[in-house]
């Protein structure tokens, strides 16, 4: 009952708030929403403790399987799924605390939406049924569209919310098409049950089913070429909502791909091209996101592209298809969630204080926000992989696993993306908070506004969530036992037959004890130091690039010319985005075809 209760609490609280919230004073609404999310977190924490002694499976309505044949719909709480749901609740709590003072004008509807969003994401992480996964996918997507268009922070680009909606919904419909194809061959909808029926299915059906289902998840994960919606949506969406988008919603897409592969397809070896396709998409996503991140001046878009880049690394971590690297990816995901949430909250503080998140406009003006200054410095360092941050630990574990499979390129890829994304944030820190470098040409035109801005202090409710999350992300790699716990969780996650036994036969076995990654090696520390140094170099070129010798200016010009068509592709044109999506489906299918 715990898992069902964890999903029911936020839904019930949302219903109460939606029905009666308009008559309740704002503090009551805030308190009720925060309490509900905290209760969800406690229930999920309890489930997580239970899941260590074997996957917790609950059949809705008591429709249990008989003799391995199921007619019911299970909720499956294994350590990874539950941990991810817990992360959703923690980030939602941070977002709610931040919005106490950030959103003075919102009423209970906003809180109800956040609660439903939490329920949708937790359900998506915990369901063991493919069709339910589609329904939860749509539930969280629909709420995400509303939250994006609700009080848009950039009225001029509100059509970004519409593009987000159309692209994600189309992805969801392709997922449903894939589900129908899998159902037609297996007669099952449960993840484990479909896997059992795939053995005899024709190759073309497996291929079409896998590619179509995965397409929807990859749209959510913002993998290239399905990523176009992400930056537009993040620019429009209110900052507390961006925390949930970037911190966990996007990553849920990667989680769903991994879950589908191991719970359903790995056993029958029914998707042989998965490693190849995820690796190629991951590399493209990591590099494109990192380059566009550095090219941005709009802080929220910059952070959004950095999320795309990190999702690319996560995809590479999954593409290795082994537990060791998946444990590293989970480490990476946790660290990223903390630091990205903190940075978005920092961007929200900037927006709240200066009514702008443009790096040029804000040049040298951020110094008064002491805590936000530190958030951006620490955030830049963590993003660039400073030991012992979670990003560094996860990256080191993934690199070790990649080394075992001969994927030597994972290390340089991690170095480049971390240096570029971390360097971009450090550049923002130098420009906005330290006033380094020359102010931009048009900055003086905006100065008249400055007096009209109220310079009241930022309240603690807007500061403390970011501080706590940054500290957590920074210290994550040093938490004793976390590496081992994640490695064990990954071992359980990648055990497809164990998953099927737990779901269909009710077999509960303790999570296997796995060895954690050996992080305290000179190699990992050296790579960590090198990436941080490279990030500072990237930031320095961004700030003091005009001091470089003249021939190097030409290199900058060439880079800009080379980037122009890439930027032009991110046009905000809905038709273009959907065309890219179709091309991506064709690409995925081509990778799944049996070729060497």
């Amino acid at each position: 009952m715990i898992v069902q209760a964890a999903l029911a609490v936020p839904v019930l609280a949302a219903a109460v708030l939606a029905a009666g919230g308009r008559w309740a004073p704002r503090p009551v609404v805030d308190a009720l929403a925060a309490l509900a999310v905290a209760a969800t977190a406690v229930l999920l924490g309890w489930t997580l403790a239970e899941a260590r002694h074997g996957t917790v499976v609950e059949w809705l309505g008591g429709w249990r399987p008989r003799g391995g044949v199921s007619n019911g719909i299970p909720l499956v709480a294994d350590p990874f799924g539950t941990g991810l749901a817990l992360l959703v609740a923690v980030l939602a709590l941070a977002a709610l605390v931040f919005s106490w003072r950030y959103f003075t004008e919102v009423h209970a509807a906003f809180h109800a939406l956040i609660l439903l969003f939490v329920a949708g994401m937790c359900g998506f992480a915990l369901t063991g049924d493919l069709f339910d996964q589609f329904v939860f996918f749509e539930l969280m997507s629909v709420i995400a569209y509303v939250l994006t268009g609700y009080l848009p922070e950039e009225p001029k680009t509100v059509h970004g919310a519409l593009g987000f909606g159309v692209v994600n919904s189309l992805g969801a419909y392709l997922t449903l098409t894939g589900i129908a194809i899998l159902y037609s061959q297996t007669g099952e909808l449960g993840l484990a049950a479909i896997g059992g029926g795939l053995d005899g299915a024709p190759g073309a059906v497996r291929l079409a089913g896998f590619v179509l289902v995965v397409t929807g998840f990859l749209v959510k994960a913002a993998a290239v070429p399905f990523h176009f919606w992400l930056a537009d949506a993040h620019a429009v969406a209110p900052t507390p909502v961006c925390v949930l988008f970037s911190g966990v919603m996007v990553e849920l897409g990667v989680y769903a791909v991994a879950r589908l592969y191991w719970a359903t397809f790995a056993g029958a070896d029914a998707a042989p091209g998965t490693s190849r396709s995820l690796a190629v998409l991951g590399v493209a996503t990591a590099l494109l996101g990192a380059v566009l991140c550095v090219a941005q001046r709009h802080v929220k878009r910059l952070l959004a592209y950095s999320t795309i880049s990190h999702v690319g690394l996560l995809l590479v971590g999954v593409a290795l298809l082994d537990g060791e690297s998946l444990g590293g990816a989970a480490f990476f995901l946790l660290g990223h969630a903390g630091v990205k949430a903190a940075l978005f909250l920092g961007a929200g503080a900037l927006l709240n204080h200066f009514q702008s998140v443009d790096e040029d406009e804000l040049h040298g003006r951020g110094g008064t926000l002491r805590v936000t200054t530190w958030t951006f410095l620490a955030g830049g360092l963590v993003l660039s992989g400073l030991p012992p941050s979670g990003l560094w630990a996860g990256k080191s574990a993934m690199e070790t696993a990649a080394g075992h499979q001969g994927w030597w390129w994972v290390m340089p890829l991690g170095l480049v993306t971390s240096a570029l994304t971390g360097g971009a944030v450090l550049r923002v820190w130098l420009h906005v908070f330290r006033g380094a470098g020359r102010p931009a040409r048009h900055a003086h035109a905006k100065e008249g506004k400055e007096t009209s801005v109220t310079l009241s202090a930022i309240p603690w409710t807007m500061v403390s969530p970011g501080m706590l999350l940054t500290a957590a992300a920074l210290a994550l790699g040093a938490v004793p036992g976390l590496g081992r716990a994640l490695a064990s969780g990954a071992a359980a996650f990648t055990d497809g037959s164990g998953y099927a036994a737990a779901v269909l036969h009710g077999v509960r076995t303790d999570v296997p004890a796995a060895e954690g990654p050996h992080l305290l090696e000179v190699k990992h520390l050296a790579v960590g130091g090198l990436t941080v140094a490279a990030a500072f170099a990237v930031a320095a070129v961004g700030v003091w690039g005009h001091l470089l010798p003249r021939p190097l200016h030409r290199v900058q010009g060439w880079t800009r010319t080379a980037l122009a068509p890439v930027r032009a592709a991110h046009s905000g044109h809905l038709g273009d985005y959907v065309a890219w999506l179709v091309a991506g489906v064709a690409l995925l299918a081509a990778f799944q075809l049996p070729w060497k």
Binding site: H159, A161, H298, R301, H546
Partner: protein, 129 residues
Amino acid sequence: MMDVLPYAVAAWILLVGIYGVVTSRNLVHAVVCLSVAQSATYVLLLAVGYRRPGTAPVFSDIPPDARTPTVDPVVQAMTLTDIVVGATVTALLLALAVQVARRRGTLDPDELRSLETQAGMSEESEPRG
């Protein structure tokens, strides 16, 4: 031939819907094209569950010993859920289209282009000064 026809129809509806979204000149039209694309999933689901010569799976009308074949009720439940989801999505996206029209005065994706530059992307970013 007749076995393949429903699947071909579903594929055709999906592709026509996507083509409509890609070439759309009006966001309301694009949203409607999206729901056309979604209709393909209804056809596909119902085609998957059809059993020849099955009757409707309303078991109160069928005598219990009559061994009459019925079509698969699971896909029908899925289609109903899908319709509910689709109605929600369409309503919300149309509401967003109203927002866009109110704030930008147009619904033509071509005129709404340049999200990047309007959002403070700087053409003249580097060399600063």
